[in-house]
């Protein structure tokens, strides 16, 4: 029961977000010019931002965009890491050393600096949707080295397992060995890597957004919402400005509890 609580809370948040987006009469980009920086009113329950956009709708959209993007990016990065780690573990030592050196090159630059550099080099004229896709793709493309190292270490142990030698002796093809035996054995290692990546990517997106390198306006994102906190006039109007950051911390706590549980089970 205790273990189901975070999952239930996350499901509730996602359903709540979807419901807000479904029932609200405006979309996230709609500007109510008569109600800019409005406090909580009957029309806008959680107030509006400096452009008159409904905060509840934008927070709900940011929640769903952030979670979907981070989950897809984590799935891509874990797949790349699994392929890379397995390739290194089952290759001759010299090739494994080269592959791990490549992963070390990526790890030799601080994660946020690397992300920032890669994300900023995209064209200046990209549409908001393109910037959102680019941001999460950059996260997926640069997040794999640490996971690949962990999977490589786990897979290296399996290389000399008796059941693997037996499988080879029985004439199983490498692809069959990977699909039927190696991947199921590595699942307890791969799943935690995926669960660790999701909150890490949400945080990275928020940090990138706060530096002006995240998802482009008017598409809502956690990073763009954090930028709202710089507006002191808005802060004086309503305490609802703090809603995005409070929700972000709650989501991250839930995601991190999943990651911790995954690590414990592994």
């Amino acid at each position: 029961m205790k273990k189901c609580l975070p999952a239930a809370a996350l499901l509730l948040l996602i359903l709540g977000g979807a419901l807000v987006l479904r029932l609200a009469p405006y979309d996230y980009a709609f500007q109510d010019r008569d109600a800019t920086m409005a406090p909580s009113t009957a029309r806008h329950w959680t107030g509006t931002d400096e452009l008159g956009r409904d905060r509840a709708v934008r927070v709900a959209a940011a929640l769903l965009i952030g979670l979907t993007g981070a989950t897809v990016a984590a799935a891509i990065t874990t797949t790349i890491a699994a392929c890379f780690g397995l390739l290194a573990a089952f290759s001759p030592a010299s090739i494994a050393a080269i592959l791990m050196f490549v992963s070390d090159i990526f790890l030799s630059l601080p994660w946020l600096f690397l992300l920032m550099m890669a994300r900023s080099l995209l064209p200046l004229t990209a549409s908001p949707l393109e910037t959102a896709v680019a941001t999460f793709l950059v996260l997926a493309a640069l997040g794999w080295p640490a996971c690949a190292r962990a999977i490589y270490r786990g897979a290296s142990v399996l290389r000399s397992a008796e059941w693997l030698i037996y499988g080879r002796a029985c004439g199983l093809k490498p692809r069959q060995l990977v699909r039927l035996h190696i991947l199921p054995h590595l699942r307890p290692l791969i799943l935690p890597q995926f669960l660790i990546c999701v909150p890490a990517f949400v945080v990275a997106e928020a940090n990138l957004g706060a530096l002006g390198l995240g998802v482009g306006e008017p598409m809502p994102s956690w990073g763009a919402m954090l930028l709202e906190l710089d507006n002191s006039a808005l802060l004086a109007q309503s305490h609802w400005v703090y809603l995005p950051i409070a929700l972000l911390v709650a989501v991250l706590l839930i995601l991190e509890s999943f990651a911790r549980e995954g690590e414990t089970n592994a």
């Binding site: 050196f101 070390d104 090159i105 790890l107 030799s108 630059l109 601080p110 994660w111 946020l112 600096f113 920032m116 550099m117 890669a118 900023s120 080099l121 995209l122 064209p123 200046l124 004229t125 909150p199 945080v203 928020a206 940090n207 706060a210 530096l211 002006g212 390198l213 956690w222 990073g223 954090l226 906190l229 710089d230 802060l235 950051i245 972000l248 911390v249 991250l252 706590l253 991190e256």
Partner: protein, 285 residues
Amino acid sequence: MSLPTTILARAGRTLLLTLCAAVGTILLVRFAPGFFSDSLEMDAKYAQAARSEIQAENNQQQSVIPIAIREARSWLKGDFGESREYHVPVAELIGPRVRVSALLLGQGISCGWLLAVCAALTISGLRRGGLVCGLPFTVLLAIPTAAMATACILAEAGGPVLVLSLLIAAREFKFLRNLLEGAWRSPHLLQGRAQGLSPRALVRMHILPNIAPQLCALATLSIVTALGALVPIEVIFTVPGVGQLAWSAVMNRDLPVLVAISLLMASVVAFAGMLSTRTLTLEVE
């Protein structure tokens, strides 16, 4: 392998890693789809013909090999080129900022470690309530650095050092606590407790000497964590350090500055990695 050979091999690997990171930066910047984008192209006051001229001028100077040769030549002379944005030698631009960032890193890492060690020592020795006591660190871990920095500015309390310390403390607390909990449960400590040794004596005489190599490895890795957090912290608090310069270079596609900062960061990270591996290897030996 003898110790000098191992050290030489590690140093060679570190150097190679650093160079690869710099070359990787050049390639990344050069082949990124937005490399030819220039803020001048977006400026409405320029006519189409002028924009095409700007683009053509940029294209002429932007082949990979000339860039790499130019950069390598200037590195050998100890010169990192001239900033495209500020029109100042990169070395002059980075020098004073390195001092500011190093001071911030030093203060942040020391305070963070002090906080993490004190909390982990106290909490790992508790028989009950460890989870509740560790809750603040769990919450801190869930707050993005940029949000923490903005919160400090809004509350008009603390500054870059506090944010960096909290971040380091939150990250290291988890590892330290696991390390110390394992140490407290070891049989020789139980024996020590049974003989009536005080907790302070146990920590000083048994725990700290045993976990010292892992602590050193963790401490060097803190540098990597802190370097990553440096950019949002310096940008939000407007600290004139390397992180802020990196952000400005990234925003303005200032290649010479970006390559120099990549080289600097990669050498620090690779050196920290080498130290942490070496410390652990010595312990195993």
